[in-house]
């Protein structure tokens, strides 16, 4: 039924390759924004919004007369940077707190559990609006809020994985040998939960991209006028009659990019899963 793992491992699936290519392209746009989309912020209010196909504007323009194609390419930066930071930050919190809570149990575990409960129960919109109001609105503020909001599920994930590992013989024997708990946690248990964490990292990147664009949609993400797909989508809603591409292009880019990250994450987690099993 499941075929030979060896054969499957050797062949990288087409979707993974396609995803990697797409992400590489998005990453290049993000890194070389100034070269690839030099005119992204160039306005032409005399032109205003025009539909696709106008000379010089393949996908038309937005309400400020900015070229949708260039703007969308420039949006790659905020589409990658923020979600990566969110995923890494939340993973770090989840990894440290989850491992400790899962292995040690007791009060720490209890506190970590309640921390997770509290944050999961806190309405995201409330936190986002209040924090934005207190420290000012901005992309990185939203990113910080998302790290906090993403962390509880990572804590739970890691904690669960650690709890699953703890009763296993290799941990029991390490304990009997008198190895320091911190060493057991981060030398013995950690490598075994890495696959879960890494796969989850990519899934979180995709999820954060969607979440960031959702907050931009509610007006909480990037400042107005910045190249950002969520923002473009929200602004583009007003222009659907004049230039539907102003909303469609960034929308498609969000979906494609998130899909590529997810597919890559799935593939990677399969791969790592088999490695662990093989070991």
């Amino acid at each position: 039924m499941s075929g030979s793992p060896d054969r499957r491992r050797r062949r990288i699936p087409v979707v993974a390759i396609l995803s990697a290519v797409l992400l590489a392209f998005v990453a290049i746009c993000a890194l070389a924004q100034e070269i690839i989309a030099p005119k992204a912020l160039e306005q032409d209010i005399y032109l205003g919004v025009v539909g696709g196909g106008v000379e010089g504007h393949l996908f038309g323009t937005d309400q400020l007369g900015r070229d949708i194609l260039q703007l969308s390419l420039a949006g790659a930066r905020s589409a990658l940077a923020g979600p990566l930071v969110v995923a890494l930050g939340s993973m770090l919190i989840g990894f440290l707190l989850g491992t400790y809570a899962g292995y040690r149990g007791g009060v720490v575990d209890m506190l970590a559990g309640r921390y997770a409960d509290l944050l999961l129960a806190l309405p995201a919109v409330l936190l986002a609006i209040v924090v934005a109001g207190l420290v000012g609105r901005g992309y990185w503020v939203t990113v910080a809020v998302l790290i906090v909001l993403f962390s509880p599920s990572d804590v739970r994930l890691v904690r669960g994985a650690v709890i699953e590992q703890t009763p296993r013989p290799y941990i029991e024997s390490a304990r009997v040998l008198g190895i320091r708990p911190s060493r057991i946690m981060f030398r013995h248990i950690a490598p075994n939960i890495v696959p879960i964490v890494v796969a989850n990292l990519l899934l979180n990147v995709a999820f954060a991209l969607v979440a960031l664009s959702s907050l931009s949609y509610l007006g909480l993400g990037v400042p107005p006028g910045a190249p950002d797909w969520g923002r473009q989508l929200a602004d583009g809603r007003q222009l659907l009659g004049d230039n539907p591409l102003a909303a469609v292009v960034p929308g498609v880019l969000i979906i494609l990019t998130a899909t590529a990250v997810n597919l890559l994450g799935d593939w990677l987690s399969d791969l790592l899963d088999r490695r662990v099993v093989a070991r």
């Binding site: 209010i45 005399y46 609105r137 009659g241």
Partner: protein
Amino acid sequence: MADIDKRGAFSRRGLLKAAVTGVTILSAATLLEACGAAPAPKSSASGGSAETGQDTGKDIELLRVALPGSLSNLYPGQESGILNYYVAAICMEGLVGVDSSGAIVPALASKVERTSPTTYVYTIRDDAKFHDGSPVTADDILHSIEMARDAKVSPSTASYWANLDEAAKSGVNEITLTSKTADEAFGWIPSNVDALWIAPKTAWEKAKNQIGTAQSPLVGSGPYKVTEFAPDSHVELARVDTWRGARPKVAKIRFEFIADDNTRLLAWKANKADMSLNVPLAQARQWEAAPGTRVVYAADRSYAGLTFNVTAKPFDDVRVRKAIAHAVNRDAIVKNILHGRGQVATALSTPEQFGGLWTPEQAAKELAAIPQYAYDLEQAKKELAQSSVPNGFTASLSYPNTGPHLGTAALAFAADLKKIGITLDVKELPIEQWLAELNTFPPLSYMWYFNTTGDPGELANWFLGEGNPAKYANDGITDTLAKAGSESDPARRAALLIEAQTAQAADAAYLPLWWGQSAIALSSAVGVRDYTSYTLLTDWPEHLYAAK
């Protein structure tokens, strides 16, 4: 009177409006005298063919109105969004009301006499009936005034009554209101466009003072009564036979609450409504393109402009302010961002506020005489080079989420400012937070203000008087305004106001950007007469007719 629009506030999220709401409503009223004789301001229906479509004389069985917001309570004393006023306007009356020209007109009072500067005597008409058939008595009115003043029952409007000293029955059909101090605006308070909605005493008691809910709908003496109300969904009103006036042509009105701009446009395209309020300017072209649609525009006496806090660096330097003034291309903004739905503002007063003296066109001409800063980036650079910050600086500018066109305009001139070395961080804030920020006197801010009266001095008195948002002080202007305050001749008063604003323009504490318009959409089967920014506060269905 500091009323900043809330109109925008309904755009997306229902009730925000309540936040900002008492607003578009008339509060100050030097208007009493100004408007009494004022001819109806012409609706400057620039694009709208408001009057097209012949009156067929037929009834409109059902008028479906798309409201750009969501109502939870219909009593404006509780929830005082402008939309609540529009609905209550056809159901409940005050002692007085307003007409399309913005003048105070009789309602439940057939006559008002101001017997002393602080005494108003209202003669109650004897032919008025509530929807339940009972006659309107002085007791009902006094009780309703009591309710309107009760901060528990009418939290949104009770404070408007602060200047009332006493309300008393002074005859069988007579009520006398006395104010603590003489105030020209006092005459507006007992109107249904400000702070009084009259219901039978029994209805108040039966509803335990909570009227306007689904359980105890509004009861009044207006031409329509509420027949069905589902909070945050819809409200339905039907023509009554207790109305003393002419029978309106519209039999039933159903308001659907569709707060989201985009959803409202979709609903309109799917022919789910016959009338839609507050068409967003950014979408106006799409509305106009919808089949069988007329979009009617009216100048709404709104002012949009920049305010410089003249005590804050670097705006304490007049050259900086002038540099910015030269760098803002107002013509292009009005033409391309507002799509021509507005006028470049040359002053704080809007042309529509000189009613009785000048037509809006004449007034615009007079106001254009105030010296302006032409769009000229070279000049802007020169000014900046001689200023305290020759190399430019960074400033931030917030706009309310309810006015996306303010944001677009800001981004547009931010690009020009960048060219002369000034970096502008444009920020969007929820309307509540934007208002909170305005109270802190930011160095650079937007002002988006809906004049509530026909008094040309309304905004000028606030902006050039004490406690103004620019912290601007100019003794000469103070003197001029004082003279204007005591001047009774409208022409001389207007001249003094323009003189004060001319002096202001030289200091550039305020940079007027544009005077706005707002729009409603009508299906081609419905016609409207005399549409102005006041119309929806009047008994407005009588302005509607079945069109061909």
